[in-house]
């Protein structure tokens, strides 16, 4: 064809494509579309920082503005990945800082970020606007200070649940007085005090501030002042919600809250004194997201608060809410989409609150839009799960954790296969599933045959044999992430479904029965998979090949299989099929 659209037109058309999948599809049409698309892609998401190398990314996408990356596997949150495994952000940032001087946004999850990294970002990217560090670690408040000081146009600084070494609370003062662009500030993970006057001044000179999440050290008395300076807030995270009960503090707080007409999300609430909760009632009707997962509030006060929030869409709460509270929730919040119930005493032997599977059943019955659940409880029954599945076939995420691993159906003492089977059968759109309890291979058969849209599956202490794993790997077509711990899965299923692993982002197996020989074989068979054997007992070839490895992490990669930052407890296969370790 002699004529085609001029490139600028195509670029303009592509600029309306925001989803990465669409853009990837577009790149596959023809070479010229591939070229046009790669020059105009501005955002990129790398789900596994070792799946691709920075040079490859830079080569393909020369004009990026926003990078989002994930490092360690999900089970690193639960201390199953030893320290020092990897996921260092510095190599990526160093490469990108040079290649993308106009980089604006960086979002990292579960990566090790050092102060040098932060300093590099702040000094190289003149237009840097957004930094989100979720569950990251390795940096101190000095790094934050350099970000504050050098990023003139900083809009978002979000340190969600990261581990920050706090050398001083004065890093906030490094924000220059001329900095008025702040839109979002989340320091809830910091333990130490920050200077309140500096915080107040910062809040006062940021007219665009929409999200402010304070840390526990900010006392309730100071909260009113802060809120008053930012009545345009949309999301607020309080500090410690406790103070001596005084009427002037209370009325101050209530007035401040009532001035915030646009408040939609509340979080924080450490150390709550329930008498101060009514100060918030004026904003409750507009609240769509409520995070009370650190609040030890008795059920009655919780209920009073929740029944005020008719438009609630997301609720994170501790199990103090009990079944009675969940009944009230089901009755009053008909827009509820996401519910997370966390345990208040996960290591106690006996239940300390009366939260059972009944609560979840009533919520599933009463809330027609419920699609995402994370529920910690101590007992579960097949009947309840079947009822939940019947009530709510629109689940997208279903994560159930029974505190006692391998707990059976408490009524019939049978495995919970039937219950979870019903969940995957009825909920056809299920994308994420976490299972616990006594489970046999049968539940995996159900999953394999019904959960066709399942993308992420977490299994612990379940199954009887390799057949279970085989069902999952051969049946779940959309599976991207599979993480398994303490299950009796061995080599056979893994090797039989080796090709499937290339269609997934990653597979994590710890404390299973995968032998070292199988890992080697898998790595030999599949050159585009990186099979990392993570074993702290010493070199795997000092033990026989049929000996199980402690952990194995398999992920597809187009980068070199020998990452340079491997610690000495990680082994991968070298290119010439011999064992290699750093």
């Amino acid at each position: 064809m002699a004529y085609s659209f001029p490139e600028e037109v195509l670029e303009h058309v592509f600029s309306f494509l925001s989803s990465d999948r669409d853009r990837n599809a577009v790149s596959l049409v023809c070479k010229s579309w591939y070229d046009i698309e790669r020059w105009c892609r501005r955002r990129i998401f790398v789900g596994n920082c070792y799946a691709v190398s920075p040079e490859m990314v830079i080569r393909r996408f020369p004009e990026l503005r926003a990078v989002e990356m994930k490092g360690k596997p999900h089970f690193a949150d639960f201390n199953l990945v030893p320290e020092g495994w990897g996921a260092y952000a510095y190599p990526w940032i160093a490469a990108m800082a040079e290649a993308y001087p106009f980089l604006e946004e960086i979002k990292l999850k579960r990566m090790v970020v050092t102060d040098d990294t932060l300093e590099l970002i702040s000094k190289s990217c003149k237009n840097f606007k957004l930094l989100v560090l979720t569950s990251c670690e390795g940096f101190t408040t000095d790094g934050l200070a350099s970000i504050a000081a050098n990023c003139r146009h900083l809009r978002e600084l979000d340190l969600r649940e990261s581990e920050v070494e706090e050398l001083s609370g004065h890093w906030l003062s490094h924000f220059p007085d001329s900095c008025t662009s702040l839109v979002s500030l989340n320091i809830s993970c910091l333990g130490s005090e920050v200077s309140f006057s500096i915080l107040e001044r910062l809040v006062a000179r940021s007219p665009n501030l929409r999200t402010l999440r304070l840390n526990r050290a900010v006392p309730l008395e100071r909260l009113a002042n802060l809120i008053r300076r930012a009545p345009q807030l949309v999301e607020l995270g309080t500090g410690a919600y406790s103070a001596e009960i005084r009427s002037d503090t209370f009325s101050n707080l209530a007035d401040a809250f009532s001035a915030c007409k646009q408040l939609k999300a509340l979080s924080g609430f450490w150390d709550v004194v329930p008498s101060y909760l009514p100060a918030m009632y004026s904003v409750c009707s507009g609240i769509t997201s409520l995070n009370l997962s650190y609040a030890a509030i008795p059920s009655t006060d919780l209920v009073k608060l929740i029944s005020q929030c008719q438009n609630l869409q997301r609720l994170w709460v501790m199990d103090y809410i009990e079944d009675s509270g969940l009944d009230v929730l089901a009755a009053s919040c008909k827009d509820l989409q996401e519910l997370r119930v966390f345990p208040s005493d996960p290591f106690g032997a006996e239940p300390n609150v009366s939260l059972t599977e009944q609560g979840l059943v009533s919520v599933s019955e009463g809330c027609p839009k419920l699609e995402s659940v994370l529920y910690f409880c101590r007992q579960m029954s097949n009947a309840a799960l079947i009822a939940i599945a019947k009530n709510r076939p629109n689940f997208i995420r279903f994560r159930l954790c029974i505190i006692d691993p391998q707990a059976p159906d408490y009524l019939t003492l049978e495995p919970l296969d039937a219950g979870f089977g019903a969940i995957v059968e009825k909920c056809k759109e299920l994308r994420r599933l976490s299972m616990t309890g006594l489970l046999t291979d049968r539940v995996f058969k159900y999953i394999g045959s019904h959960a066709k849209k399942l993308e992420m599956l977490s299994i612990a202490f379940a199954g009887d044999s390799d057949l279970g794993l085989h069902h999952v790997l051969s049946g779940c077509d959309s599976l991207r992430k599979l993480e398994i711990r303490d299950c009796p899965f061995g080599d056979k299923a893994l090797l039989a479904n080796a090709a499937k692993l290339e269609t997934m982002r990653s597979l994590w197996m710890s404390s299973c029965s995968v032998s070292f020989g199988a890992c080697k074989l898998l790595a030999q068979k599949m050159p585009r998979l990186n099979v990392e054997v993570i074993d702290e007992r010493g070199p795997p070839d000092s033990r026989p090949e049929s000996c199980s490895v402690e952990r194995v992490y398999v992920y597809r990669t187009v980068a070199s299989r020998q990452r340079l930052d491997m610690p000495d407890f990680v082994w991968t296969l070298d290119e010439d099929s011999s064992l290699r370790y750093s």
């Binding site: 320290e83 649940e161 581990e163 106690g348 032997a349 954790c401 391998q406 976490s434 044999s465 007992r537």
Partner: protein, 419 residues
């Protein structure tokens, strides 16, 4: 565990168990030695480690060597479930519990020719001995355990049961590993799956709420441990330990790879881990001291305060070189490295050692004698040295004077040299 291990070593067939529990290698059967003996024997038994399975119920492969099933079942729990030094107490109680239950059920099974009953009793946790969670497994365990108990029918059952176990251990066994007890529950790494941030918040919340109850704080308390010269950090859960000794032995094990590396091969076989005593010597020889950062950001020597206070205030741990640890701690009696001092306490020349060390190195450290040696001993030893010196001076003086007196007063000629 001491009792069980003693029993093991007493019985004839128990010889095998004894070997791979590593008691023959260690001089003393104290907690840390036993736990590290596990580690050591693990690596000693390269062949036996073939059979090491980390799998759960029903995951026994046919080629498993039955004789080492007990070890395997114990070992396989150690690493994934107890990656840090397991307190022997817990293993002891649970093994006794299993013994009790095993006695009830497994014994009958084995005596009756080992019927393959599928009825699983969920209340009987077999958490510790994971691979044996199923009936045959339980029976097998019971079989081995029974052979330990002095109550007859040992040999026959022991040889019988494992054989049957192998044949019957197929993969259709339903796991029955319910957590045995609260103790076991708390020890599984990463369970329940709650992020550390939330766990730590829980701990502090419950501390403030439950201080009145006097209930011990729940949850894990992970702190980072770094070591001078080590390339990366480790994390330990302080709640796994109840005393300084346990913590220090766990850290010794964890960081042993670094100290060994530092000492270089020197002919030490890479496949074999050094024995416990060699390890201690290494650590002593390289002069490492354990320090921690408290809530105020100050670096203190570990061992100064009671354990509970230590847990409450410790934010980070660091294994420093002795030379870097000057000035830490507050006691004025700051002397030798902890281990050296501990040994020296037994020796009469202890105080001399101290004096020499202080003279030559011009440094002072606080000794970590452990919580069982009171401070007064340090005081006493110093005082005793001074007294000794003083006494010997006086004695010598007296002797000389006595000679003179005798010479003059008693006119004793024999005291004078021959003319």
């Amino acid at each position: 565990m001491a009792s069980a291990s003693d029993c093991i070593s007493q019985t004839g067939p128990g010889l095998k168990e004894r070997n791979y529990f590593g008691f023959s290698d260690c001089s003393s059967v104290d907690r840390s030695t036993v736990s590290s003996a596990h580690l050591e024997s693990k690596n000693n038994m390269n062949m036996k480690a073939t059979e090491l399975r980390l799998g759960l119920p029903g995951s026994q492969s046919p080629e498993r060597d039955s004789d080492f099933s007990l070890l395997n079942s114990v070992k396989l729990d150690e690493k994934p479930l107890f990656p840090l030094a397991p307190s022997k107490d817990r293993i002891c109680t649970l093994s006794q519990k299993t013994v009790a239950s095993g006695n009830k059920r497994g014994f009958d099974d084995t005596v009756d020719g080992f019927s393959e009953s599928k009825t699983t009793n969920f209340s009987e946790g077999n958490w510790m001995f994971n691979a044996t969670g199923s009936d045959p497994g339980q029976a097998k365990l019971a079989g081995n355990v029974i052979s330990i108990r002095p109550s007859g029918t040992q040999l026959a059952i022991k040889s019988e049961v494992p054989a049957k176990t192998l044949q019957e251990s197929t993969n259709k066994i339903i796991g029955t590993n319910t957590a045995n007890a609260p103790a076991a529950k708390a020890q599984v790494v990463g369970w329940p799956p709650i992020r550390s941030f939330r766990k730590n918040s829980l701990v502090t919340t419950s501390k403030t709420n439950d201080e009145v109850d006097g209930k011990p704080g729940p949850g894990a308390l992970f702190v980072k441990v770094s070591m001078d010269g080590a390339p990366y950090l480790r994390k330990v859960d302080l709640r796994m330990y109840s005393a300084y000794k346990e913590l220090s032995s766990a850290l010794e094990k964890m960081f042993s790879c670094f100290t060994i590396g530092q000492c270089g091969p020197q002919g030490a076989p890479t496949r074999k881990m050094l024995s416990e005593s060699k390890l201690r010597d290494l650590l002593h020889g390289s002069e490492y001291v354990l320090t921690y950062e408290d809530k105020d950001g100050d670096w203190m020597l570990v061992g100064d305060v009671p354990w509970e206070m230590f847990i409450a205030s410790c934010k980070k741990l660091k294994i420093m070189k002795g030379s870097d640890a000057i000035g830490l701690g507050s006691s004025s009696y700051q002397v030798l490295l902890h281990f050296k001092a501990k040994k020296s306490l037994m020796y009469p020349c202890f105080v001399w050692d101290l004096a020499v060390y202080q003279c030559f190195y011009k440094e002072s450290f606080r000794p970590d004698y452990g919580s069982d040696v009171p401070e007064c001993f340090v005081l006493m030893s110093d005082i005793s040295f001074i007294c000794l010196l003083a006494f010997s001076c006086v004695f010598l003086e007296c002797l000389l004077r006595l000679r003179l007196y005798l010479l003059f007063i008693l006119n004793l000629d024999f005291l004078v040299e021959a003319q």
